[in-house]
């Protein structure tokens, strides 16, 4: 195309130049025709030159215009070709996209079908497994039933055999009785052979002693009745044989009839309180003396106590620390010597398995006695210490066990369920407070009050004024040592 354009431009240039020469020749028609031309002036020459230059410029402009037109045409053609190419490329791209989408769809379909098949297979496998399990269970149950039936059958056969053996033994005993009678008769008739009779009697006595000593022999009553028959003339009715207490040194109850059972139950219930009394006791519990509720504590008489670090099973992290401090303080108010808090706490922190209520065992208490010189150890477990958001009450549940280090007996046990209807105390604006958090300070105070109620009826220790004089003091705590206290601040 470029070559065509170049050729076209050259031709146009040539034609234009030819036409310009013609025009230039035609442009001077009035020139005189003479064989001898007149000499040209400078002005005329300049004019001619200017006209020539103008004509050349015009030619050039025309050529340029022609070139531009050709270029425009070429550009339009190129643009048209480019657009056509674009359209073709878009079409191809669309085709490829369609093909890819189709491929993807086909792949998804195949995957779905594969997944469906896998699930179907899994379901079938599960169903088959369930069936197999059920069948196995049914077979097992059937086997168990058969085994039970066989066991019952065997037991019946054994019972039958035992009965037959008992019958045989009875018959043997009867035969022996008859033999004894005959021996007695013969001894009465003839006194010549006392030695042989004695021997026979000794043998018979030995046999009887052996049968009495045999633990498998179930007819002991029959033999004892035999001995009793020789001494006394008691009746031999079947009702008495089944429900009598054998006489002699040993007392053994074989079986009791239903009438006797009812009679015994009636006799036992005569000592209980009536319903009215029971309701009254629920409202006004019976008061017991301290020496009846805590006899071991008065007997052991501990002087020093070790408070183990509590086992905190509540949701409040600091409950164990608070209770550790408050319980040791309250026990000192009761007159006991309690080991100090700070060094014991540091010792516990070095090894939390020691000196804790959670991990110490009863076998470790002897070591504590030798090491610390304490007479008793207090185990505490905190189950609950919380304040729900919808109430102002603070609930605390804990279990206390005071155990002796010498005898390992529980001297004091208490399950405490403490409910405190709290009100937020007024703000304390004093400076240099040790416990800056008001909530913690409140909880600490409540824990102290809880300990006061827990150890309220505990016998006092040697450092108390009323030591050894509070045995007869009565308390309304139940014998089970289980109570619930609700306290409201005044």
């Amino acid at each position: 195309m470029r070559k065509i354009l170049v050729v076209f431009l050259c031709l146009s240039f040539v034609l234009f130049s030819c036409s310009s020469n013609k025009k230039a020749a035609e442009a001077t028609p009035n020139a005189p025709i003479s064989t001898e031309q007149a000499p040209k002036t400078e002005k005329q020459i300049a004019k001619e030159k200017a006209e020539a230059t103008k004509s050349r410029q015009k030619q050039k402009e025309k050529e340029l215009q022609q070139r531009r037109k050709a270029q425009q045409k070429e550009q339009e053609r190129l643009t048209k070709e480019a657009e056509a190419k674009k359209k073709a490329a878009e079409k191809e791209a669309k085709k490829t996209k369609k093909e890819q989408d189709d491929l993807i769809k086909n792949a998804e379909k195949t995957e779905k079908e594969r997944i469906k098949e896998e699930r179907r297979k899994e379901k079938e496998a599960l169903i088959n497994a369930d069936k197999a399990e059920k069948e196995a269970i049914i077979q097992q149950e059937n086997a168990e039933r058969e085994a039970i039936k066989e066991a019952e059958r065997l037991e019946k056969e054994r019972i039958k055999a035992e009965k037959e053996a008992a019958k045989a033994e009875k018959e043997a005993l009867k035969a022996e009785e008859n033999a004894l009678k005959q021996i007695e008769k013969s001894s009465v008739d003839s006194e010549a052979t006392p030695v042989a009779e004695k021997k026979e009697l000794s043998t018979m006595e030995q046999i009887l002693a052996m049968m009495d000593e045999n633990p498998r022999d179930k007819n002991k009553d029959a033999k004892k009745e035999k001995t009793n028959k020789s001494t006394s003339t008691s009746s031999t009715d079947k009702a008495i044989e089944s429900s009598t207490i054998s006489r002699g040194e040993e007392e053994q109850v074989v079986s009791i009839s239903e009438k006797e059972k009812k009679q015994m139950m009636k006799d036992a219930s005569k000592g209980e309180d009536s319903k009215i009394k029971k309701v009254y006791r629920k409202v006004v519990p019976e008061r017991f003396e301290r020496e009846t509720t805590y006899p071991k504590l008065y007997k052991e008489n501990p002087k020093s106590i070790l408070v183990l670090y509590p086992w905190n099973r509540s949701q409040y992290d600091k409950a164990d620390e608070m209770l550790f401090v408050a319980a040791s303080k309250e026990l000192t108010y009761k007159g006991y010597y309690v080991l100090p808090v700070l060094p014991m706490l540091d010792e516990y922190r070095k090894d939390t398995t020691k000196l804790s209520s959670h991990y110490t065992k009863l076998t470790d208490l002897r070591q504590y006695k030798e090491k610390y010189g304490v007479d008793a150890v207090l185990f505490v477990t905190i189950y609950r210490f919380e304040k729900p958001w919808w109430t102002t009450n603070i609930t605390a549940v804990a279990h206390y066990n005071l155990i002796s280090t010498s005898t390992l007996d529980t001297l004091f046990s208490r399950q405490a369920d403490f409910n405190y209807d709290s009100q937020m105390p007024p703000r304390d604006n004093t400076k240099d407070k040790l416990v800056e958090d008001e909530k913690e300070a409140q909880y600490l105070g409540i824990m102290e009050q809880m300990q006061r109620y827990v150890f309220l009826d505990m016998p006092v220790g040697p450092h108390h004024k009323k030591y050894a004089s509070d045995q007869k003091k009565k308390s309304s705590q139940r014998r089970e040592q289980k109570y619930k206290v609700t306290v409201k601040p005044s």
Binding site: K303, S304, K318, E321, M322, F324, V325, A326, S328, K329, T332, Y333, G335, Y337, V338, L339, P340, V341, L342, P343, L345, D346, K371, Y372, G373, V374, D432, K433, L434, V435, E440, A441, L444, E448, H463, H464, K465
Partner: protein
């Protein structure tokens, strides 16, 4: 007049039965001090705690009118104070307060001796 006599007699009876019960020991700020020790072990807190224990164990916290009664020192307080003094590197006062504890409460002898061995006193 009768009403006045009646109310005055009631008040007198009430005043008679209301007794100012004294606790055996004077703990003062023991609870808060011990609890802060459980929660923090900074030197600043230890100094504050030892100050509160000082009021319990010595006569610094007592009023001028009332004499300081050593029998009202609670058991274990002297050992706690001695332990705090050891952490502040004051061994002399720690040793003296340990001996004081033994003098007040003889049943603490075995524990105090073991503690001295452990702490190197």
């Amino acid at each position: 007049m009768k009403r006045y006599l009646f109310f005055s007699s009631c008040l007198a009876l009430v005043m008679m039965f209301v007794s100012c019960s004294k606790d055996i020991y004077s703990y003062k700020d023991y609870d808060e001090a011990a609890y802060t020790y459980t929660t923090s072990n900074d030197l600043k807190d230890i100094k504050r705690i030892s100050k509160s224990y000082e009021k319990i164990v010595t006569d610094k916290g007592a009023k001028k009118k009332n004499k300081f009664d050593e029998t009202r020192i609670p058991p274990g307080a002297c050992i706690d104070y001695a332990y705090l003094k050891l952490q502040q590197q004051d061994t002399n006062s720690a040793y003296s307060f340990l001996e004081k504890e033994v003098s007040l409460y003889p049943e603490s002898r075995t524990y105090v001796e073991n503690l001295k061995k452990k702490l190197g006193l």
